[in-house]
């Protein structure tokens, strides 16, 4: 034969664009045709025609082959409807659960924030790590002003601070949450008002006319989206503000302490700056927009350098303080939320893998049953590649149908997840089945289809014709078949083991978390927040008067055992002010006698109401008056850090430049972290400094009511007590302290619940998988077992035979799974509380349980094996 020309070789290559069996069938002929035509017509004209032909007919041949395969697939699946349905259901649930969890991960963690150039947004913190306080402190006003003046990395920086407002506009006074923000927040977020104008720099001046910006939600709820609200007055905290604009829903506090959608601010007022404030008061949250082409690291470098310079300039307040910058997507979560979500995504993925293994098993069993059909078709001239492609199409099309059902499952379970997700996780409203999530669902569906469709397809490609035809289909199960199935058992057991270990660790952690000593007794305690607007209560005396009257009248209620007030109740949202405290004797001299502490302004009797133990000294009392010497009570840990040698009561400490006498020590309490929610149950108690509400006036206070009555019974009386004193105050929302605590563990509880559900599903699917494989193996070994029974093997020895084979493989899987769980200890360790991620009891217990499950799965086939009738078995074929 003549050597082929370059053109011919190129053409042969191009023929691969056709379906494989087509080009295998006709490639040779078409090349010959090409040769003939080139000889007759010349290369140029032939090539032009050929390329056009290729572009037209290759896709249409591909499609027609696909249509043919899909039709065939549909017909064959209809022949085994139960199997098809079982496979579909398994996959649909698997894909559905995965897509739902992914929608959460995507909506909460991955989706970009809804701002222009959102990747340039950062949150700025003051970093107290060097003094052991951690990197996530609020920002002091004066430091912020210094940054604005000097920092070059930012296009704009804004600070804000949450505020409670009493809106007296429509009927009953209403309490709404909002923020005082700098005008620069508009520039940082890159948002413009829907109507009206943004805040201006001048609005921040102390003498400026009060103005307010409405959030879209309040605008819609209270004003029916009327654009004419701009210019109208609105009464906030008894002060007339002029509405100057309305901002879209995305205009909100972003970053670390954002408390879900419920906590989104509804109204914004300009932050007026009190330049007399102490530089050491960390009260504001800061966000910034980096300049273009300034990286996060560059900004961090600059701010750290700047902070170092300021440490030198303001040693009294800035010593050991640096600056930390984080992207809001990172800072808005407890890092454990990220770990939890990714862990859950991994766990649900593992469940899908196990489900796929089961489906692969089903499909493989079916392929084995069809060995004869396939062999016959091969004998009639179907090429192995063609048959493989057809099997793959069968499985992928089954997977796609399941995937579409799976998306429906995802839609339903996503709704359920959204309601289960605690309010402490931000961006829940971003969770939806959008394009990205759908693409993900279809992607994993296709991967599944290919995964479980590949094995039978590959096997059929090298099916042994002769054995298939001569041995009635059964002989076709060669050793490679067993290897594959046993491999599935090992993989399933391994994955399930890892999941079960994880879930068991999380479960123990949750139990320990819920039993951690709190330092107070939450049972029977109700809390509420009450604000005293400056207009109605212009001075300290008026506020103190209100507070005393309120506490006094509540105390007289029959079901109330004790009442008190504090700045913010543990685990409940509220103001948390961290202050620097000095030992008076060493002020300015020794850094050792200085500590950061949370400042709580409390009434006499608070400790009794909350159930905090007074260790030494006395509680605040009526003798502590506005004019009398300032007094303070310290928590145990604060006492230890200021005066490690004891002898605390009677000492003087300095707070905000004024000396306070320490009159007592109380026990440490959890839930009083410097974060907006007071931290989690797992956070160690922080040092707290208590001062008397008689000596330090406060605008917003948290009521703490210890009562025997249930909430609904006492609520009207509390509301009446408030209204009797001041009818324009909004009615307080009472909530049991237990609920706040439960909310603080809602996230770990959800993680644990889901992990347990996934582990349970994995366990169940693995059991089904082992059962399927062992049943099948017993079926294949009917003759052998029959012979053994005929030769006198007893029940026990037959059961032992089956159990041994099953447990050997499962045991291998369990061992691998334990290693897998061990290797994940770093990731899961961060989620655990008082449980080691390599806890030997958990590992041993899981291994034991999994062995039990595997034995259970083998039991039925084993019992069936003992019932094999040797005569029938030997006559079999």
């Amino acid at each position: 034969m003549a050597r082929s020309t370059i053109g011919e070789r190129v053409y042969r290559r191009l023929l691969r664009l056709y379906p494989r069996d087509f080009s295998e069938d006709y490639g040779e002929e078409m090349t010959r045709l090409y040769r003939d035509r080139v000889r007759g017509e010349g290369a140029t004209s032939v090539w032009l025609a050929l390329l056009a032909d290729l572009a037209r007919t290759a896709p249409s041949e591909q499609i027609s082959t696909l249509v043919q395969d899909v039709r065939h697939a549909w017909r064959t699946w209809r022949r085994t409807p139960v199997l098809a349905l079982a496979a579909m259901l398994t996959l649909a649930l698997g894909v559905g659960a995965n897509t739902a969890v992914f929608s959460v991960v995507y909506g909460v963690l991955l989706k970009p924030l809804p701002y222009p150039d959102a990747d340039r947004l950062v949150e700025v913190f003051e970093d107290n790590s060097r003094a052991g306080g951690g990197p996530f402190f609020r920002v002091s006003l004066l430091n912020y002003l210094s940054w604005v003046e000097r920092a070059r990395s930012f296009e704009a920086v804004a600070v804000f601070s949450g505020r409670d407002f009493t809106l007296t506009e429509h009927g009953d006074p209403e309490r709404i949450v909002g923020s005082a923000v700098t005008a620069s927040l508009f520039k940082v977020l890159g948002l413009a008002p829907i109507v009206g104008r943004p805040l201006a720099r001048e609005d921040e001046d102390p003498g400026a006319a009060p103005v307010a910006v409405l959030a879209e939600s309040l605008w819609a709820r209270a004003f029916g989206r009327d654009p004419a609200v701009v210019g109208r007055p609105i009464m906030l905290n008894g002060v007339r503000h002029q509405i100057i604009g309305v901002v879209p829903a995305a205009f909100r506090e972003i970053g670390r302490t954002q408390i879900g959608s419920a906590g989104a601010g509804q109204i914004f007022v300009p932050l007026t700056m009190n330049l007399a404030e102490d530089r050491g008061n960390h009260t504001l949250r800061a966000v910034g927009r980096l300049r273009e082409r300034v990286s996060l690291d560059q900004a961090r470098d600059e701010m750290r350098r700047l902070a170092a310079v300021m440490e030198g300039e303001f040693p009294a307040t800035n010593r050991n303080w640096s600056v930390w910058i984080e992207r809001p997507q990172h800072s808005m979560f407890d890092p454990r939320v990220r770990v939890s979500l990714l862990l859950l995504l991994g766990a649900v993925g593992v469940v899908l893998l196990i489900a796929c293994a089961n489906v692969a098993n089903l499909v493989l069993a079916r392929a084995t049953g069809r060995q004869r059909e396939l062999a016959v078709r091969a004998a009639l001239g179907a090429r192995p590649a063609r048959l493989a492609r057809q099997l793959l199409t069968e499985n992928v099309s089954l997977a796609l149908v399941s995937g579409i059902c799976g998306l429906a499952v995802a839609g339903v379970s996503m709704q359920a997840l959204r309601t289960l997700i605690p309010a402490t996780i931000p961006r829940v409203e971003e969770i939806r089945l959008d394009g990205t999530v759908l693409v993900f669902g279809l992607f994993i569906t296709t991967v599944c289809g290919v995964f479980f469709g590949m094995a039978p397809a590959m096997r059929s490609a090298r099916a042994n014709l002769l054995t298939a035809l001569t041995q009635n289909g059964k002989g076709a199960i060669g050793p490679s078949h067993h290897r594959w199935r046993h491999g599935l058992v090992v993989a399933q057991t391994g994955l399930a083991t890892t999941l079960v270990v994880m879930a068991a660790l999380l479960l123990q952690s949750l139990v320990r978390l819920q039993h951690v000593p709190l330092g107070f007794e939450p049972g029977g305690v109700l809390t509420a927040r009450v604000s005293t607007p400056q207009v109605k209560f212009p001075d300290a005396a008026a506020r103190l008067g209100f507070q005393r009257t309120l506490l006094g009248s509540l105390e007289t209620l029959p079901s109330v055992r004790s009442v008190g007030s504090m700045t913010s109740a543990p685990f409940a949202p509220g103001v948390r002010r961290t202050a620097t405290v000095h030992d008076r004797a060493t002020t300015g001299r020794s850094a050792d006698a200085r500590a950061s502490a949370l400042q709580q302004i409390v009434s006499p009797g608070l400790f009794r109401a909350l159930g905090v133990r007074l260790l030494t000294g006395r509680d605040f009392s009526a003798q502590d008056q506005p004019g009398s010497p300032l007094v303070a009570i310290v928590s145990e840990s604060l006492a230890r850090s200021l005066w490690p040698n004891g002898d605390v009561v009677g000492r003087a400490l300095e707070l905000d430049g004024r000396s306070h006498e320490v009159v007592g020590i109380v026990g440490d309490t959890r839930g009083s972290d410097g974060t907006a929610r007071g931290g989690g149950l797992d956070r160690d108690p922080q040092p707290v400094l208590y001062v008397s509400s008689a000596q330090v006036p406060q605008g917003t206070l948290a009521l703490v009511i210890r009562t025997d009555a249930a909430l609904p019974a006492i609520l009207p009386a509390v509301r009446a007590a408030v209204r009797d004193i001041e009818p324009t105050l909004p009615v307080p929302e009472l909530r049991p302290l237990d609920e706040w605590i439960a909310e603080s563990v809602a996230q770990p509880r959800l993680t644990t619940t889901l992990a347990a559900v996934f582990a349970g599903a994995a366990l169940f699917l693995t059991m089904v998988g082992i059962f399927g494989v062992i049943s099948c193996a017993v079926g294949q070994r009917t003759q052998e077992i029959g012979v053994r029974i005929a030769l006198g093997a007893g029940r026990a020895s037959v059961i032992g035979l089956v159990l041994r084979s099953g447990l050997t493989w499962a045991g291998g899987g369990i061992a691998i799974g334990l290693v897998g769980a061990w290797s994940m200890n770093r990731a899961i360790g961060s989620l655990l509380f008082n449980v080691s991620a390599t806890d030997p009891f958990t590992f041993a217990g899981t291994a034991f349980a999994l062995t039990g499950v595997a034995a259970l799965a083998c039991a039925l086939p084993a019992i069936r094996a003992t019932r094999i009738d040797p005569v029938n078995a030997l006559r079999g074929d």
């Binding site: 056709y18 087509f22 069938d25 006709y26 002929e29 078409m30 010959r32 045709l33 090409y34 003939d36 035509r37 025609a49 050929l50 056009a52 032909d53 290729l54 037209r56 007919t57 290759a58 249409s60 041949e61 027609s64």
Partner: protein, 119 residues
């Protein structure tokens, strides 16, 4: 086996299919010969491209309109061992049905005065 039902179910035939049936109606031909025959009969107006030709052949084999000749049935003079195709009885009846359909159509067109020249 390919489904052989009523020939009328296959009408109207695709142009390429009909031409191929015509080409193999009088003698067994290989692909290139079919292409040349079609080109000659249409004075070069229709040149079946390889994709169209073999795509059609594949479908026609599936539908039982033509068969491929076995090695023994091939003409002896062909030393290149090309693949030859032969029309089946069913293929012939489908081609006849298509021809009849076209004849009827042509008659109707003539009656409507759409066909010029000799009647």
């Amino acid at each position: 086996m390919p489904p052989q039902t009523n020939p009328d179910d296959y009408l109207p035939l695709a142009v390429a299919t009909f031409h191929i049936l015509v080409a193999v109606a009088d003698q067994d031909r290989h692909g290139y010969a079919i292409m040349q025959d079609v080109a000659t009969r249409t004075n070069g107006a229709l040149k079946l491209s390889p994709g169209t030709l073999y795509g059609s052949i594949r479908r026609m084999l599936d539908e039982g309109l033509i068969v491929e000749l076995s090695d023994r049935q091939r003409p002896d003079e062909d030393d290149e061992r090309r693949r030859y195709y032969r029309i089946t009885a069913f293929g012939r009846s489908v081609a006849q049905a298509e021809a009849a359909r076209l004849a009827t159509l042509l008659r109707q067109a003539k009656a409507a005065g759409l066909v010029p020249g000799r009647a």
